[in-house]
Each structure stands twice: as C-alpha cells, then as structure tokens.
C-alpha cells in the first residue's frame, strides 16, 4: 500500500483527503489503483489515451519516475508518490 500525496486542487476528487494509500507493486499499478478507486482523478492525471498528461510529473519519494523505470518502477509500502506539475512560461519574443 503506497501512499500518494494529493495536490490541493485534486482533493475534491478524493473525499478531501490530502493523501491516500492504494495497493500496487509498481508505480503503474499504484496509479491504476488510484484512478480506479477515485475515478474522477483519471481526467486530471491521464489523457483519454491513457497517457500521463504533459504537465504531470510523478515522483516516487524524491525521484522522478522517468529516471527510475517509469511505470515499472517498484513501489514498496513505505514509498510515497507525489504528483507534481511541469510549469514554465514567458513573454512573446522569448526564445523557445
């Protein structure tokens, strides 16, 4: 049962809980269990094609899952998952 920290705006979809615990041996299984138990979260995190939205990063403890095996990264009971957005910006004329 990994723990998932829920960002404030998403707590309306988890009965106002700021963290939840769901089963799963890998990050992918944990995220599937999360959106199965709280289906309104799915649209927030995944596209209609089932991919993580472009602005969503998933951290397993302090590690970005992109660098530790993505969905296949093992998740233990003591682990904490965080959903962290990618944010940037700028003005016209800025170099992209």
């Amino acid at each position: 049962m990994a723990k998932i920290l829920i960002p404030t705006p998403l707590r309306q979809f988890t009965a106002k809980q700021d963290s939840v615990t769901v089963p799963g041996a890998t990050v992918g299984e944990v995220l599937t269990a999360l959106t199965t138990e709280y289906p309104d979260l799915r649209k927030q995190i995944f596209t209609e094609e089932g991919k993580l939205r472009s602005f969503v990063n998933v951290y397993l403890n302090d590690e970005d899952i992109r660098y530790i095996g993505r969905d296949a990264a093992p998740a233990a009971d003591a682990d904490t998952l965080s959903l962290v957005p990618s944010i940037a910006g700028g003005m016209p004329g800025g170099t992209n």
Binding site: P7, S82, P85, S86, I87, G89, P92, G94, N96
Partner: protein, 138 residues
C-alpha cells in the same frame, strides 16, 4: 476569487522588482474556502530556465515538490504560482498557456522599468488552450 494578504503580496512584488529585468517565479501558499482562495505566504523559487531569463521562466518540479511539502508542514495548501513580466503587461502569454497546469491559479505581475505596475490572475484549462481571468484582490 483569489485574495493575497499584504505580507506575501509585498514579498512577491519585491521579488519581481529584485529580479528585474529577468522574470521571477514562485509559489503561493494559503487556504481555499469554496470558490475563495487566500494567499498567506509566498515562496520565492529559482527561475531555472537555461537561457535568457528576461522573457522566460521555468520551475523545477523538485522545487515545486518542496513547496508543496512546506505547505503541508505549515498546515496550508499550495494554491498558486506567480511570475513576472518585465516591461510587459500582465497577461497570460501563449508560452505561459502551453506550459501551464489547470490545478493552480497563476498570478502575473507586470514590472515596468523596475517598478510594479499591475497584476492579473488566470486559471488555465486542461487542454492549455484558454486561461480565463480569476478575480484578484491584493
């Protein structure tokens, strides 16, 4: 509606002015009651954009994760992001929109000739195609 208390507002303006002519960025912590948000603390974060920062900003996800942890420790919520537009109006640019997240309020401060000029707040949508204004009180 989002209301920013005087102390965090002063910190955000000071951050924008100190970063001029570059863009600054940071996190806003506070509370949410129904449709009303109150910012009680502002956390200045490093502009991590690897290039000319006068017209771009980028937040490191690790820094945002730390800001969220700080909010939890202080019994507050991470409710928004702020950044500055040096010598430019406080609008939500295409670049802002394409790199936004619908979970948070986005405050933009216009810093003109090094001084605060005006500010606006925006709520981007899921598809990163629109960001209507949110009433901002400071």
């Amino acid at each position: 509606m989002i209301r920013i208390e005087p102390e965090p507002w002063a910190a955000m303006v000071a951050h924008g002015q100190a970063s001029y002519p570059n863009e600054c960025c940071g996190a806003m912590l506070g509370s949410t009651e129904r449709d009303s948000k109150t910012v009680r603390q502002a956390i200045a974060l490093e502009n991590a954009f690897d290039g000319v920062q006068a017209a771009r900003y980028e937040l490191r996800p690790e820094d945002l994760l730390a800001a969220d942890k700080a909010a939890r420790e202080r019994k507050m919520d991470l409710i928004g992001i702020y950044h500055s537009h040096p010598d430019c109006d406080a609008y939500f640019s295409t670049t802002d929109l394409q790199n936004s997240c619908p979970w948070y309020s986005f405050v933009v401060l216009s810093i003109q000739k090094g001084e605060f000029h005006h500010a606006n707040c925006f709520l981007p949508n899921f598809d990163q195609t629109e960001a209507p204004k949110e009433e901002l009180i400071y």
